[in-house]
Amino acid sequence: MVSRLQAFLIRRLLWALPVLALVSIAIFGLIRLVPGDPAIVMLGADAPPAQLAAVRAELGLDDPLPVQYVDYVADAVRGDLGHSYVDDRAVSGAIAARLPTTLFLTAAGFLVSLSIAIPAGLLSATNRGEWLDGVGLGFGLLGVSIPNFWLGVVLLLLFGVHLDWLPVAGYVSPLDDPVAGVRYLLLPGITLGTAMAAVVTRMLRSELLEELRREYLDAVRMKGVGELQVLTHATKNAFIPVVTVIGMQFGYLLGGSIVVETVFSIPGMGRLLIDAIQSRDYIMLQGVVLVYTTFFVAVNIAVDGAYFYLNPKLGGER
């Protein structure tokens, strides 16, 4: 017997397959639309035509597009995403080397954002209309209006250059050296997490206000429990929709890390992506986008699962 949650997750996983297929076809097709011949990217425009033709044949570029696509997918599921047009390194190896960095950065942003948003949302909702609420509301509005790259640059100016407290660029893995790792991740984490903190603060505040107005809380109060417990009760329910937003934002954190890596010169997947775009290394671009996509889809499934798990009202069907 599978539980309802398991059945739900299996259904969602089955849904993910066509989405991934669709996305990979879209990326594959789009990239083939790009003017520019990979053989020329590899050998230079003045290479002899015979040599160019040989490279094209070797890369399978003369095959019909559907054949090329099937070949690509067949290799991809075996972990081979092809070799860079620019320096011939394995795409999957390059991604594997960069992925942990990006995930650490994303996790840092996630931690920063929740440790701001949860207290800010709670304080804002429970002090409705007071100055604390004003601070929370102002943060909610300003946080979504400040572009992350500019916040990063300002933090760099202030804490990196002016006060000279934290490193201005680079990355040390927290696994190699926890203290240095945290010092390097602090500013990038704040830069990445602030916008999400603002979104979650706003959401948590309005959900909690809605929840605090409900009648069932009076029943809870009548049982003679303290206000703090009432709040705990309301918070638990208010969190259900917030989880969806948090999950969606996790995908956006992964997207935001592309920008933040550039601001702080962090050698993650985002840098790999930008470098691939700038050097027209489309096979690398394709691989990186595909890996990002897989992560987004996985996160979305996890979020749906969490939502399903948290919300007792949802039966098996949605």
Binding site: V144, P147, W150, V161, G255, F296
Partner: protein, 303 residues
């Protein structure tokens, strides 16, 4: 229908039957003026538009004129925002940058709406399987973070202002579709739509005349929010070097170069263009929040 002619000038009669749309429009004006967020946002946005339009008149220097001896000067009376690495006046460049931001803020919602609104209308009006498939498709696009989709599309289309606006437009199609569908679904159930249907109006007429106008308020809010998002996304792409090509002073591209001067202490190079982005985006966000409160009668003014 021959009633409800508003132009007959009978002001003494207070409660003449108006068309539901005119009634909503009037209530909207009243609520808007009372909403501080909306008025504040409108003022900031209007200021931004004015500065962008009048940039050629207001800018003290030609934004492209190089003056190498005056390079990297801090803010002064002659150069309120300082000068850049070629001695160009940053104040003038930021003013001209507002023109790019304005184009992006206007064109992106238009592109996204031109595709997203019809999709939303069809999904909401037809319902059933069509609705399911269209919305699943929109969700799949929406699952992508805007920045990744924008980067990939610009990498493929090539860098030009037009291509960037098209790419940004595609990024925000799902949000327009979703919002339009949301209102269409509830409007379709309303009395006046059922009346029109029973009178034998065609589907196209029902959708365009009886459904679309009632979705406009939600679409307007979405357009305002999208304008803010589009300014941020365009400047992010330009900051990454994948945005508007370099001689054009986009705020993001100025910041991209300015970031290189952070270590050496030329703070004005990155601080002022960034402040311009924040003010413009804040204006649209305030306006969007305000409009949402004003247009949704359920929301509480203190919220």
């Amino acid at each position: 229908m021959t009633d409800a002619t508003d132009a007959d000038g009978t002001t003494a009669e207070p409660a003449r039957p108006q068309s539901p749309l005119a009634r909503r429009a009037r209530a909207f004006g009243r609520r808007f003026r009372r909403n501080r967020l909306a008025v504040g946002g409108l003022l900031v946005t209007a200021g931004f538009v004015l500065l962008a339009v009048l940039a050629p008149v207001l800018a003290p220097y030609d934004p492209a004129v190089v003056n190498v001896p005056a390079r990297l000067q801090g803010p002064s009376l002659a150069h309120p925002f300082g000068t850049d690495r070629y001695g160009r006046d940053l104040f003038s460049r930021v003013l001209y940058g507002a023109r790019i931001a304005l184009q992006v803020a206007v064109a992106t919602p238009l592109v996204a709406g031109a595709v997203g609104v019809p999709i939303g209308l069809v999904a909401g009006y037809v319902g059933g399987r069509v609705d399911d498939v269209l919305m699943r498709l929109m969700d799949s696009i929406f699952a992508f973070p805007a920045i990744l989709l924008g980067l990939t599309l610009v990498a493929v289309f090539g860098q030009s202002l037009t291509n960037i606006v098209v790419a940004l437009g595609i990024v925000y199609i799902p949000q327009f579709a979703r919002v339009t569908r949301g209102s269409a679904v509830s409007v379709v159930e309303e009395e006046h739509v059922r009346v029109a249907r029973s009178l034998g109006a065609s589907h196209a007429r029902i959708v365009l005349v009886h459904v679309l106008p009632f979705c406009l308020s939600a679409i307007l809010v979405q357009a305002t929010v999208t304008a803010a998002l589009a300014i941020v996304l365009e400047s992010s792409l330009s900051f990454l070097g994948v945005g508007v090509p370099s001689p054009t002073p986009s705020w993001g591209s100025i910041l991209r170069v300015g970031k290189g001067y952070v270590d050496s202490g030329e703070w004005w190079y990155s601080v002022f263009p960034g402040m311009a982005i924040v003010v413009a985006v804040l204006g649209f966000n305030l306006l969007g929040d305000g409009l949402r409160d004003v247009l949704d009668p359920r929301t509480d003014p203190n919220r």
